[in-house]
Amino acid sequence: MGPYSPAFRHVFAHLGWEVLVPERPTQDTLSLGFKNAPEFFCAPFKTTLGTYIEALEAGAEVLVTTGGVGPCRAGHYAQVQAEILRRKGYQFEMVVFEPIARDPLGLLRNVRRLNRNRTSIPRLVSLVKEALQKLACIDQFGEELRRLRPRELRPGQAEAVYDQVVQALDAAESRADIERVRRQGLEAFRAVPNDPDRPILKVGIVGEIYVVLEPASNLGIEKMLGEMGVEVHPSITLSGWTAENVVTEVGNSAKRAAAPYLGALIGGHGQESVGNAVLFARRGFDGLVQLAPFTCIPEIVARGVLPAVSRDLDLPFISFFLDEQTGEAGARTRVEAFVDMLWQRRRAKEGAV
């Protein structure tokens, strides 16, 4: 999912596996998934299904994924996907990581199963730490990229630096290595010629985690916005999410901020979407983009209350419910219109001051 493969590859390579990290999902991946999944499953289900098929075709024997306890449907996906794939005649094993608190024994079982090299426990712990460090590092690079995109003098330069440093990170072995790559990476970003004083818009992104993080399933909307002179702030990053959800349950400021509008945990990221919208508004953002897979009920509920947030806190928003039918050109037109409108509002405000 998204640009995070170096972190996961790191752990599994050290456990003694040959890691097949699938290519980033392409149109072919999506078609494979869409062809084999039931119609009303969401885009993340279909995209990951397509990815599994590609991986199995490339010779994968074990699929590793995560579970969950809902109320989002994704908690059931691994089981259903495995069943669909077996029906197609693939032979494989699927290892599903459930939340630790719900199933501690399952975690141990999974670790034993995957620990091919009989790596020692302390080494395992340090592997996980290294992976988390890589995650945090990738997110930091992403932040730099999103800051530079609207400001760089030659379009595309920050993107090139980003691809380079993420690749360098993949090769980093020890914690010191990772730290060195991180510092060099930040250095490289600083060297990108840019105009820090250029007026830019700030737009927050909320929504369901998979479509927010995976550019292939959100039409590269971050890049699209960046190139239109918008600094993009996603409300979810994988390192942040891991810290919140693996260790503790969601109990963050977003939840408190959502309370006046959405009084219950509705599953998925619905509540966070609303809460983060409120937080973005308080931080003076110019606009908000909601990204969700088609038929994602938590996000539909969020979409239902966002107009109230928007009205109360004067934060314009635009929603994208993404499926295989969503075309890039159509989305671009809507995004352009949205950005134009934000600029007009900005100018009107400045005129008023």
């Binding site: 809902g70 219950a264 509705i266 619905g270 239902g304 209350v305 929603s319």
Partner: protein, 326 residues
């Protein structure tokens, strides 16, 4: 004081309780009329366009009630058994209605959640009663009467009766003759707000009768039999109604097969949980080599398409029964 109950979603399961409760408190209970094209159209206009069909219909019913009542009862239905929760739209219902921008009477909003303790329902009722200014003894009496009414209602459903408020299917004309078309039995699975709403399902119950088909709903399966169905791969569905439908499906496709000749699963357009349950049941039907049909209801309401599929399915099942290959 007039309290409005929208005739959809949980209505067919729990209306007996809430009607009796509010009446016991001295309120007049107003139910929205059965779904019509107009209900659906006004719901579609008022609701998020990406929403599932049942949510749009719910909004239609809310609009029907808007100028007829003093309070609109929109509970946050979270969990009644402490384990399964209702689907996210039930969980966000008061928020969705409150922030819809519609001009509505004040909401009677209370959270129903078994995980808050065994007295969850009584606490919710006390809260409601107090907010309506009723005295404590009166609330207790209303609560007890409502509990009795609910038990009776559940028993009626279990016996195969239609819930109060559902349109009774009139005996259709042009019924097939029993000699040429011996009666068959199907399990009719689906959420109560699809099965018992004649407009939404395009008169499905009536059509089944016309085809000489008897049906068994989810509600007619005793709970102890449902509880036995525990083999959803490794995990049970998280949502209450979906869990019941999936269990009933496994029951009828498995140990309960002697009671039916085929299984029909009625789902709603863009319903997330349904997609999951449907896939599970479809796989189970395939594995057991037993006839399984999915019917998806949508807001376009074109009945020709589904009638053809239903008739073909019924023919197939009947042939299996007649030739004894079931």
């Amino acid at each position: 004081m007039r309290v409005g109950l929208p005739r959809t979603l949980w209505y067919f399961t729990y209306a007996a309780f809430w009607r009796t409760f509010f009446t016991g408190l001295g309120a007049e209970v107003v139910t929205s009329p059965p779904t019509t094209r107009q209900t659906l159209d006004s719901g579609i206009a008022a609701c998020v366009s990406e929403a599932c069909l049942p949510l749009k219909i719910y909004f239609g019913h809310v609009i029907e009630l808007a100028d007829r009542v003093d309070r609109l009862f929109v509970p946050r239905l979270v969990s009644v058994d402490g384990r399964r929760v209702f689907c996210p739209k039930f969980l966000g219902l008061p928020d969705l209605v409150r922030h819809s921008g519609l001009k509505l009477p004040p909401l009677l909003d209370v959270t129903i959640d078994r995980r808050r303790g065994p007295l969850f329902l009584w606490r919710a009722c006390r809260h409601l009663g107090q907010s309506l200014g009723a005295s404590s003894p009166r609330i207790v009496r209303a609560f007890l009467a409502a509990s009795r009414a609910q038990r009776a209602h559940t028993a009626r459903l279990a016996a195969g009766a239609l819930p109060a408020g559902a349109t009774p299917p009139s005996w259709p004309r042009g019924r097939l003759t029993a000699e040429a078309n011996p009666p068959i039995r199907v399990a009719l699975l689906g959420y109560p707000y699809l099965i018992f709403d004649e407009y939404v399902n395009l008169g499905l119950l009536k059509k089944l009768r016309a085809l000489n088909v008897e049906y068994r709903t989810v509600e007619t399966v005793p709970e102890r039999l449902l509880r036995k169905q525990n083999r959803f791969f490794q995990k049970r569905p998280f949502w209450r109604y979906s869990d019941l439908v999936a269990r009933a499906g496994y029951h009828f496709l498995g140990p309960g097969w002697s009671e039916v000749d085929g299984v029909v699963h009625v789902t709603a357009f863009a319903c997330g949980p349904d997609a999951l349950v449907d896939k599970l049941l479809e796989l189970e039907g395939e594995r057991k080599q037993r006839p399984y049909l999915n019917i998806t209801l949508d807001e376009q309401s074109g009945e020709a398409g589904y009638v053809t599929r239903l008739e073909a399915f019924v023919d197939t099942v009947r042939r299996r029964v007649v030739t004894g290959s079931g």
